[in-house]
């Protein structure tokens, strides 16, 4: 073996050892330490902010769910409905439609979603807000806009035998402003709202 081949081999061997040492530091020690700190300081959040319903884990407050009638793709009128989803709210297939903002398919989808939301909730098409007719980026968006929650009040109240005022107050309680007053957007968490609704309807 000549000198340059030998020095190249030695350099590659050094490089490999450097990679392995740094893998131990950043790929083993770092995530384990962070996991340790996270699990002791914020166990609920580190494990996915799970929520309970009737004594069992029923999802995560951060992950949107489907509120269709079980086994169908029809929205269940008894519940507040989330935004359209590209994956029927399956966390194993996150991601958006990726359709361009002027795409003909998207134009058609938006028009149909507006008609559907308007007739489903008994409101004029112009009252349907933008988040109700567009898919989110994650396809598991846990939130809707306050406006979308408000147009669902009458339908939800009727279907659950509750008064409109009761349900409207419930929505008001769940409307969250921007974080710290100016970060992000106004929103309503659909799972939390529906869990409160379930408790109200039970009483």
């Amino acid at each position: 073996m000549n000198t340059s081949a030998r020095s190249t081999a030695r350099l590659l061997f050094s490089a490999l050892r450097a990679l392995l040492v740094l893998t131990v530091v950043t790929g083993v020690i770092y995530p384990l330490v962070i996991t340790g700190v996270a699990q002791s300081a914020f166990p609920d959040r580190a494990n996915g902010s799970k929520v309970e319903h009737e004594g069992r884990e029923a999802g995560s407050e951060l992950i949107g769910q489907s509120w269709n009638i079980k086994g169908t793709d029809k929205p269940d009128p008894r519940w507040f409905q989330p935004r359209p989803s590209n994956s029927a709210y399956d966390p194993l297939a996150t991601g958006p439609s990726n359709l361009g903002a002027s795409d003909a398919t998207l134009v058609k989808t938006v028009k149909e979603a507006r008609q559907q939301a308007a007739s489903f909730n008994g409101v004029p098409p112009s009252a349907v807000p933008k988040d109700a007719v567009t898919g989110s980026g994650s396809a598991i968006d846990p939130h809707i806009s306050p406006a979308y929650a408000e147009i669902q009040v009458d339908r939800v109240a009727k279907e659950n035998g509750l008064s409109e005022r009761q349900v409207a107050n419930l929505v008001k309680d769940h409307e969250k402003g921007r974080d710290l007053g100016f970060l992000g957007n106004e929103k309503v968490n659909v799972l939390e709202l529906n869990l409160s609704l379930a408790r109200l309807a039970d009483n």
Binding site: A15, A18, T23, Q65, L92, G137, S138
Partner: protein
């Protein structure tokens, strides 16, 4: 509060936070790379590596070390994916196919983090945490090391010595990236990001349906993914996924992480060359371009979002309710201008003209403020070009920081600038001519072309974001984009280190009345103009075919 006021406050808070840490962080990083002492852990690491951290390297030796370390990274990551099914913590996922494993290995080592795979349905926990997240650290540290070597080229005289790669690599990882990522990761968990080693759990929802909730070391990977301007999400939805980016606070924190090191590096540069004002001139150019991009995309998404978005009443397709249009636009500009490529909303569904701005952010070379390290060295190469052009205009020998910009320096700078346009335009043209572009499009017409152009721009500039409708997981694109990522990362590094060696060997020329002052606003202006002219002349025709055609038709 009106949405516009909230957007303005959000950007102001971010700028204030970045301005606040610019000095201390930039000075700290200068101290890290200039320091003579080694900690005990570092000395132990150097012994394990078999390297002498005090041995000075000339540019060919520095380059060889960079390439050897990166080659080891590609091979290791490739094997980790190919053997995934036989290794623990695989979550039962199969081995990754050869072309996709090559693409992913190239992608993470080149600090690109283009993802032709989908995190939650292909990549196990060992590959993610022990492989991909490791490259998030070390590929970032390599970029910073190369930038520091170039700074030393300007700062040193009559020596060819650029420092020691192993020392720069280890210090960048241990003293800069690791502590910052650790703090950020804990803050992200406090916001709601997950951090566990549980597998996927099934729950029964209120309506009696089954939902699979995923687990993983997400926050620790998220922190370094943003801090190291990497961008590869734990999940397919990237930072739009609530487990990666749960609320408005985590969102601003992540944007801050994208920008904090790139915007502090000019201070490190100023400190190390002995004049912080030189750093201010550079950071002003970066900040000006970035802010113009933020204003442009925020305004375009509100005022000119496209037909479907107008019908819907706003550009919310592909965006999360908790972020809205403003926080999504801010993230999108920051991620494309930093070579990060993580996304909290999906760029494919942005309006045509906004998409054009995002593409331009990459096409100017990822320098405003650019990736960690790579942003600074890219900007300094543009500064060399700007000095040369200004020197020609006033008829003086161009010089920058006391170093003559002669034929050799200009040839290296020109080669640097030509690499990525050659890759982007050749790659896009090849993909279109062979039909591989068209068969991977989700959209039609100009927007379909934009998807292909975006893919090759993103890969060659080591960004990693996508017009994600583009189906990248084909043999052709995995291979071609993998090559674009490797060449787009390491050819420029060759030219930067050669330039550094050439500068370090020079004897400095004293400043005279005829010297162009490079620490003044006038120079910042010349620099920005040069960047716009170079990128504009190169890429305008391709932009006209894609985003401009779409945006003006809508």
């Amino acid at each position: 509060m009106s949405p516009i006021l909230a957007d303005v406050l959000q950007v102001s808070a971010l700028v204030a936070a970045l301005a606040l840490v610019h000095r201390p962080l930039g000075d700290y990083m200068a101290g890290v790379y200039a320091g003579k002492r080694h900690s005990r852990v570092e000395r132990w690491i150097y012994r394990a590596v078999g390297a002498d951290p005090d041995a000075q390297m000339r540019w060919p030796a520095y380059l060889r070390a960079v390439l050897a370390f990166s080659l080891a990274g590609v091979l290791f990551l490739y094997l980790l994916q190919r053997l995934q099914d036989r290794l623990p913590l695989s979550l039962g996922f199969a081995a990754i196919s050869p072309d996709q494993a090559f693409n992913t290995a190239a992608s993470f080592v080149a600090n690109t983090n283009w993802q032709s795979y989908s995190g939650e349905s292909a990549m196990g926990q060992l590959a993610q945490t022990g492989g991909l997240a490791v490259q998030n650290f070390v590929s970032a540290a390599v970029g910073m090391a190369v930038a520091v070597a170039l700074i030393r080229g300007f700062a040193r005289a009559r020596t060819g010595e650029l420092g020691n790669f192993w020392a720069d690599l280890v210090r960048g990882t241990l003293r800069i990236l690791l502590p910052m990522a650790a703090v950020a990761a804990v803050l992200l968990v406090a916001c709601g990001a997950i951090q566990n080693f549980s597998g996927t759990q099934s729950v029964t929802t209120v309506t009696g349906q089954t939902q699979h909730l995923t687990g993983g070391a997400v926050a620790s990977q998220e922190a370094i993914k943003d801090l190291g301007t990497n961008g590869g999400g734990y999940y397919n939805a990237n930072s739009a996924h609530p487990f990666e980016n749960p609320n408005g606070i985590s969102n601003l924190l992540e944007i801050f992480l994208l920008l904090v090191i790139p915007f502090a590096m000019p201070r490190t540069f100023g400190r190390m060359v002995g004049s912080v004002r030189q750093g201010y001139a550079v950071v002003a150019a970066m900040a000006g371009i970035w802010l113009a991009g933020v204003v442009a995309v925020t305004w375009l998404e509100a005022a000119h979002p496209g037909t479907a978005a107008q019908l819907a009443g706003g550009a919310m397709e592909g965006k999360e309710q908790r972020f809205g249009e403003g926080a999504s636009s801010l993230f999108a500009v920051s991620t494309t201008m930093t070579s990060t490529g993580s996304v909290n909303s999906f760029h494919d569904s942005f309006g045509g003209l906004s998409g054009g701005v995002l593409l331009s952010g990459m096409m100017i070379g990822e320098i405003a403020p650019g990736g960690v390290g790579s942003g600074l060295y890219g900007m300094l190469v543009m500064a060399v070009v700007a000095v040369f052009i200004a020197g020609l205009m006033v008829g003086r020998t161009p010089e920058y920081l006391g170093k003559k910009i002669g034929p050799r320096e200009m040839k290296l700078a020109a080669c640097y600038i030509l690499v990525t346009p050659a890759l982007v335009l050749t790659g896009t043209a090849l993909a279109m001519a062979t039909g591989n572009g068209e068969s991977s499009m989700t959209n039609t017409g100009p927007h379909g072309f934009s998807e292909v152009l975006y893919a090759y721009t993103s890969a060659s500039h080591n960004n990693g974001s996508a017009f994600a409708g583009f189906s990248a997981n084909t043999g052709f694109h995995n291979t071609a984009l993998g090559l674009c990522m490797l060449l787009g990362r390491f050819l420029p590094v060759v030219f930067v280190l050669a330039l550094a060696g050439s500068l370090a060997g020079q004897r400095p020329v004293p400043a005279s009345a005829g010297t162009l002052r490079t620490d003044k606003p006038l120079f910042t202006g010349v620099l920005v103009a040069c960047i716009a002219i170079v990128a504009g002349l190169t890429f305008f025709p391709s932009l006209a075919l894609g985003p401009l055609a779409e945006g003006l038709a809508a």
